[in-house]
Symmetry: C2
Subunit: 351 residues, 2 copies
């Protein structure tokens, strides 16, 4: 998940970024608690090394809140449909805010009844979905999350983008350590890696992107879309996963699918109306209370193997240790953008 | 999913194989209904073109039933733990028989309460898990299934097998057609493709298998294990999926994990004690009754794209059309084995 960092980045302490982001969000009328939670989630994502879904996205959310396509104070509606199922209508809210609420509802139902499954409608970009599954796992539960996104991935056998990078996250509690957490796009690489390569003049790895004719290319300037996990030979698997994630978050929840989804950076005045799906499971209803200890034992078994394979989520944990000490790298262009927004909103710049 | 077929195979009608397999299973004391259901499931899997999980596995199940490591008449125990959760203790039963029961319990809970999540313990090899998700989808529900298997896959970053090919299946109902169904191993290729290449003297594709030192090889004779979906560059994703499937079917259900799992073809006297996990969702509790029509529309949208990408499960449907007409190919070695078992059990050979 770790992403390249520009050499001329400024290192900013996490807490300074949280303070700054919270102040900006309050300035566009987000309630204090939501502002602090969103700011903390974005910076947490940077701490994990996932800069594509971190503080760099804040100005986009601010812009959409200013235009009204994301509402800073949404009226959300919880629709309980059974002992373990619900829909959360997001009221055009900011994606993280809606997702935290949906995931916590799923957690509450799981604690009460063994499993909770909460679908989301009328939401927006909710960032790195490992945020939600880890929250469930830190509470001793198993978290599963899906969300869909605008179309940047070419179907296996197709030539034009149709599905998004449609991620899957699953997290398990681990005794004495942070949760084990898978959080992966169903494409080989995220679209932002193509954007970075364009900007920096680097070639792309083979078998991960296509040009406007749908042909494989390593030329970042020519690349317009990414391809499913598995590449040319086994991409039917990544494609099928992306399609199922879209069905789970889109049509299953009464939401749109595929190219019907509005673009994140297209019309900034149009609400996104995105879906998501959170499933939380209480291990107490299945194999029981030993689970976190067994997960820790599995991690120990793996690290003792030749080659020392790691658990999903451990690279992010190591990033966090490093970045809590060193600060979070902020590229010059982003820093300039942050200062412009600070001036506009009357908020002290973070650096 | 389609697998190569030896040119000197005999084509046998599906119904003849079902009749033969049912008779063999009854001869080892399986109840009639279970025998017919298992026989039908195996032949259905061949009809889909997935010969690795079809009728070729029957003699293995018969051998284990004769030895008592699979019980033809298991005493299963349903342990309801909430309105939407249960464990099914498989009583050392045959994997398909246990899985059908667990999946149907999940379907019943989904119809009654919106979602059903059923974990399985003390079971054995349950074949192609798309069998179960398709059954849910044909009933208008969304089916999700996982199972784990003995270790043949090298973790990303590791050198020795640890996890199985640990498959994931998800199926959705589709109006006017068979369900859309993803049913995929979390490795690039199944281990049986390595075995076939060994036997036939073919090389393997690059980046899918390793030798005894854990190094990538295309030499089928040297290959001892397979690698996660995503290969050398992106295999951390397939690896993490396999690990999560093992956690969901193993430790979450109180079952073993990784190399603790007994080998399918190792000690035939030792019970497998495998786990599985079935989640079934009723769309009526979420976006509602339009789902099958929207899935059909998505399929139509995709086929109208340049390149005409297909829905997961459509290649299997096409295989079925062809093989219902032509018969199912049975290789000479398998046919000889089937005739030996027929003679031993006093059952008429299928061909």
């Amino acid at each position: 998940m770790s992403q390249p960092v520009a050499a001329n980045s400024l290192l900013v302490p996490a807490e300074a970024l949280i303070t700054w982001a919270s102040a900006c969000l309050c300035a566009v009328q987000m309630p204090d608690d939501d502002a602090r939670e969103l700011a903390t989630a974005l910076v947490q994502t940077n701490l994990w090394g996932i800069d594509s879904h971190g503080i760099a996205r804040l100005t986009h959310y601010l812009e959409r809140m200013r235009r009204g396509s994301i509402l800073a104070r949404p009226v959300m509606e919880e629709q309980r449909t059974g002992p373990c199922t619900a829909l959360l209508h997001g009221g055009q809210g900011q994606g993280h805010v809606v997702a935290f609420r949906a995931n916590r509802l799923a957690m509450a139902m799981a604690r009460e009844s063994g499993i909770g499954a909460v679908g989301v409608t009328d939401s927006s970009h909710c960032g790195a979905i490992g945020l939600y599954t880890r929250e469930a796992a830190r509470a001793g539960l198993v978290g599963i999350a899906f969300t869909h996104a605008d179309s940047v991935a070419v179907p296996h056998g197709g030539l034009r983008p149709f599905f998004g990078t449609n991620p899957i996250a699953i997290a398990f509690p681990r005794q004495g350590a942070e949760p084990v957490c898978l959080d992966m796009a169903t494409t080989s690489i995220p679209m932002n890696r193509v954007m970075n390569a364009k900007r920096e003049g680097h070639p792309l790895p083979p078998d991960v992107a296509v040009d406007a004719q749908g042909q494989a290319t390593t030329d970042a300037q020519a690349a317009v879309a990414v391809t499913p996990l598995g590449g040319a030979q086994y991409g039917h698997k990544g494609y099928a996963l992306a399609l199922m994630v879209d069905l789970l978050c889109g049509p299953l929840m009464g939401n749109a699918y595929g190219r019907q989804l509005s673009s994140m950076y297209g019309d900034l005045d149009a609400p996104r109306r995105l879906g998501a799906f959170f499933i939380v499971i209480d291990p107490a209803r299945f194999g029981g209370p030993l689970l976190p200890a067994i997960v820790a034992q599995m991690a120990a078994d793996l690290v003792a193997e030749p080659g020392s394979p790691r658990m999903p989520g451990d690279p992010e944990r190591d990033h966090e240790t490093e970045r809590r000490a060193s600060g979070i790298p902020v590229e010059p262009e982003l820093l300039a953008e942050m200062r412009r927004w600070s001036a506009q909103l009357g908020v002290a710049a973070p650096a």
